[in-house]
């Protein structure tokens, strides 16, 4: 964390390199000067701002979205808890789509390049963003990563967010849709416990369905809970390792890409 103002911006690494913050980002306040001004009779006043805290993130996200749209890129923001099988699902998806669409991946994790390495093993370009102590990707991180990669024109960009069902919900990255992965080894009530994320997602992939015979997980109940939070959410039951539901997911991707092209 930045020792001047407490922000985490100097911990973000893109391809292992630190991003230089703006020079004016950490102007040190000199309290004595202000106290002196107050003593000299400078009156206090109230000013009205009414500014959305997320406005800056959202405006950068809009710029990212424009760039994706100008290049016919379907950008998806993949979100889930840690361990839901996002990376395995992504690897299988890339293997299936390779040669059919231009593809690229942005990987978000607090530390390590492990996930990007797993993606690169498929032959697809992957950029790793390490957020340091940060718990989510934001639009500016994506904006800074994009010039370092070849945009998959008329193809797909998968952004794998930090494994976290809370924080990434609020941050628009410029994606066409958030895709939430819920694995059947988790609780059915995750959509009720983390409603913001399930509300923000357009598609839910219920992963690891090959394990259902060994679990007490109630699929219908999990789907009902997801629809309570988001009646319009599309749900696909899938198994990245067993292959169940992959065809439906790939068809959804192709249809969404058509809309962006």
């Amino acid at each position: 964390m930045c020792t001047t103002c407490g922000c985490g911006s100097n911990e973000v690494l893109i391809r292992g390199r630190r991003h230089a913050g703006k020079a004016d980002a950490h102007v040190r306040f000199r309290p004595h000067a202000a106290e002196a001004a107050a003593r000299n009779g400078e009156a206090t006043r109230v000013i009205r701002l009414e500014q959305d805290i997320l406005a800056r993130n959202n405006s950068v996200a809009d710029q990212n979205r424009l760039l994706f749209s100008a290049n016919g890129v379907l950008a998806l923001n993949l979100v889930s808890s840690p361990g839901s099988g996002k990376t395995t699902l992504l690897v299988r998806t890339l293997e299936a789509l390779k040669g059919k669409f231009p593809l690229a991946v942005i990987e978000g994790d607090q530390q390590t390049d492990n996930d990007a390495e797993r993606i690169r093993a498929t032959g697809i370009e992957a950029i790793q963003i390490n957020t340091g102590k940060g718990c989510h990707l934001d639009a500016q991180m994506i904006e800074r990563a994009l010039p370092q990669m070849a945009l998959p024109q008329n193809g797909m960009l998968f952004i794998e967010n930090v494994g976290n069902l809370v924080c990434p919900a609020a941050f628009d990255l410029g994606e066409a849709a958030k895709v939430v992965v819920l694995s059947v080894t988790e609780g059915e009530d995750k959509p009720l416990k983390y409603p913001d994320m399930f509300r923000a997602a357009r598609l839910m992939l219920m992963n690891k369905c090959d394990l259902l015979p060994y679990l007490a997980f109630d699929v219908a109940l999990a789907e009902e809970y997801a629809r309570r939070v988001n009646p319009d959410i599309r749900i696909i039951r899938i198994s990245a390792t067993g292959g169940e539901g992959m065809a439906e997911w790939l068809a959804w991707l192709a249809a969404e890409q058509q809309i962006c092209a």
């Binding site: 922000c7 985490g8 309290p31 109230v46 940060g134 809370v166 941050f171 009720l192």
Partner: protein
């Protein structure tokens, strides 16, 4: 804890305002936090106090104004107060209340000198 990033964004809004409106010190900050926004009030207080250290808003008093959640039923159209995103409509019992208020996160006002 995304409240840290949100507190940083709030501080950036304050710094931008200091630049355009020419004040040197912030004594009080009013934040509007909707009940249905994804912000935990106490986490926001902790993060705000941390990120403003050594900044123009160091030591500023934080006032959080909580606004109630308001939803409109997508089936019957009735409007009601809601405390969560998964409440059923009290009129017709269907799920899928559209949020019409109470999801905002805003820097409302500053007391400055």
């Amino acid at each position: 804890m995304h409240e840290m990033s949100l507190a940083e964004s709030a501080l950036q809004i304050i710094k931008d305002a200091a630049h355009t409106q020419g004040f040197k010190r912030v004594k009080k900050v009013w934040l509007e936090i909707g009940q249905l926004s994804c912000v935990e009030k106490e986490a926001m207080r902790f993060c705000f106090d941390t990120v403003v250290k050594d900044s123009i808003a160091d030591g500023a008093q934080l006032e959080i104004i909580e606004t109630a959640g308001q939803g409109r039923c997508t089936h019957c159209g009735s409007e009601t107060r809601i405390a969560t995103l998964y409440e059923a409509c009290p009129q017709c019992g269907s799920y899928g209340m559209q949020v019409i208020a109470g999801d905002a996160m805003r820097v409302k006002e500053l007391e400055v000198e």
